[in-house]
Symmetry: C2
Subunit: 357 residues, 2 copies
């Protein structure tokens, strides 16, 4: 049996991440064999590494992590949908048979028995190889060879922005102004996609005004706010009526800051999930009055279905054409598998670290 | 000059409500003169009486209160839209010329310079007479002679449920189960309208299980939960996945309880506005994770435009046909103008007190 190396954890055990050796997966009937080119590291991975979330596949002790993956098909599927050499991004969630899942909307899974590759009950992609059914592979054009591991986070953002558009469709004037909280990969992708939609965008992060994050934000014509010590409500007031607020920090309490920042008819979308319990004192009366008097809305968004991956692909290609190099510059570090710990560590100006087997 | 009696306050001064004498209004060109039949008392009136909100018309010291009104046209408008004898409900908000207001959606006013009769900068209807342009009058059929003062709160509910429907339209399965927090007139009207839409409805209030509120809820086939000492999250868990949560108590902290109660793809709509500041300790991480993982939404809703009054009228007539007498039974007290203080006082089983000049 051939072997491969991967990064795995014992779920629930902080600091248990190791480079481990596994059998190289053999494609089942109809599956493609994919060679991993690069796997991104994100906040969910760090939560898994801290032992806060993650479950191993049934019967296994360890979980191979990684769910933001760019790969290349080596052995195509039986139907020839993905000939060898095709670049692919795998989707993450696997349906459980509930009505939403059956309708292709596993991102809205009703039974909650889904698995997620690299997160929950199924091995991920921070490995040398994986196999997958074509049902869960998204073919990518060669233009995305350098930044294709951003398709998954972009799909999460595309889902969130689609939710915002639908929630906001009841408001009879177009959205023109957005605030993005967080300049990590999710916040930056939201910034780029909103800018491409023509909105005025203000993006706030703790990084300095001369940081890479600031330059990437400004490359798209958005305004960067170096937010250390700057209250969100001040930024919101200076910006003017906010039609869209994207909460992409996952910092405790920022969900409330996002709610408070929404303007008249505004929609805040929450993408970030704080890890540990975080009690906050909130003026319930003031926040409620604000949402009610502004006819404002808040929507939580998680995961992405195929339609969102398709939207992400369209969006990323448009962004790449419009602001050449901006996606590649988001990849702030490329590490071999054996140096996965450096990839995970990151710094204040890390946007996206990727592991390349 | 002829005179009339009305209930007025000095805005901002608690306990300043008095029966006062005013010039009987004279219709301007195109306006109708309306004799007031009944004016309902609601939470906003109590907030005005407590001095927490309310502003007098420009140049006036006192504000005539009352905004839930059933009247009868005495002198019709010039165009004959409202012949004498027509039952009418006046709308409350008056537009300020912003784009939303110009499009008939003053409930979403963008400039915030609207006035509201009986609340903000314009006299209300707890009086013997009023005049109004036909643009702001809703004609009612004779079937609503007994309960027509419920059209205004029903319009507020219709707006809220319309928002919920639109926010939830992104979810690919129909709403089947709702929780209504509060058994006052807003909560009961929400219960009745949701039941009429075919939903399973659970309505929670502090009143006892054998109270009038309980009987009215149960008359429509909804389940009444006597909620004293019962945590909302327990009710929500027992009920099953909640597609819709209506927060109609305005009690501080209940907005968070409503958010936490939303099920997968659920929408909480906030209608109640707490009066004074109300700091609450909330687990920001838990609440955020809940909204995100459930793809749940929260929307604030206030006021109503003409389309919502039209929807309310249709809804109330359907409710009245389906559950005869239930609307009339919501009118728990009818008081002459001079006894307005008894109308305002109310008790735990008061649903809607009305003042009849």
């Amino acid at each position: 049996m051939e072997e491969m190396r991967a990064v795995s954890v014992t779920p629930g055990v902080s600091g248990s991440a190791r480079l481990t050796v596994h059998p190289r997966p053999v494609p089942a009937a109809g599956e493609a064999l994919v060679r991993v080119l690069a796997t991104g590291v994100c906040g969910t991975d760090r939560e898994i590494l801290a032992g806060h979330t993650g479950t191993a596949p049934t019967g296994a002790e360890r979980l191979i992590i990684g769910h933001e993956c760019l790969g290349e098909v080596v052995t195509g599927d039986a139907e020839g949908t993905f000939p060898p050499g095709t670049l692919v991004a795998p989707m993450v969630r696997r349906p459980d048979g509930c009505p939403a899942c059956r309708a292709g909307r596993w991102d809205l899974c009703q039974w909650g028995n889904y698995t997620e590759r690299g997160i929950r009950g199924a091995h991920g992609f921070m490995a040398e190889w994986y196999t997958e059914s074509p049902d869960y592979l998204v073919p990518l054009p060669p233009e995305l060879r350098a930044a294709g591991m951003l398709v998954e986070p972009a799909a999460v953002v595309a889902k969130a922005l689609s939710e915002v558009t639908q929630v906001r469709s009841r408001i009879p004037w177009p959205a023109t102004r957005a605030l993005v909280l967080g300049g990590g990969s999710i916040g930056l992708l939201a910034t780029l996609l909103l800018r491409h939609q023509g909105l005025e965008v203000h993006t706030l992060d703790l990084a300095a005004a001369d940081s890479l994050k600031a330059r990437l934000v400004e490359a798209s014509g958005a305004r960067y706010v170096a937010g250390r010590g700057v209250p969100v409500n001040e930024v919101a007031e200076q910006a003017g009526n906010l039609d869209i607020v994207v909460e992409a920090t996952g910092a405790p309490g920022m969900a409330f800051a996002a709610m408070e920042a929404t303007g008249i008819g505004g929609v805040a979308v929450l993408l970030g999930v704080p890890g540990a319990a975080a009690p906050r004192e909130v003026d319930a009366a003031w926040l409620t009055r604000r949402l009610v008097e502004h006819n404002a809305a808040v929507v939580g968004s998680i995961n992405a279905a195929r339609l969102h991956f398709d939207a992400a692909l369209t969006g990323l290609l448009a962004v790449q054409r419009r602001w050449p190099g901006v996606l590649e510059r988001m990849i702030t570090g490329r590490y071999p598998l054996a140096q996965f710990e450096d990839a995970i560590r990151g710094g204040s100006d890390t946007v996206k670290s990727v592991v390349e087997p």
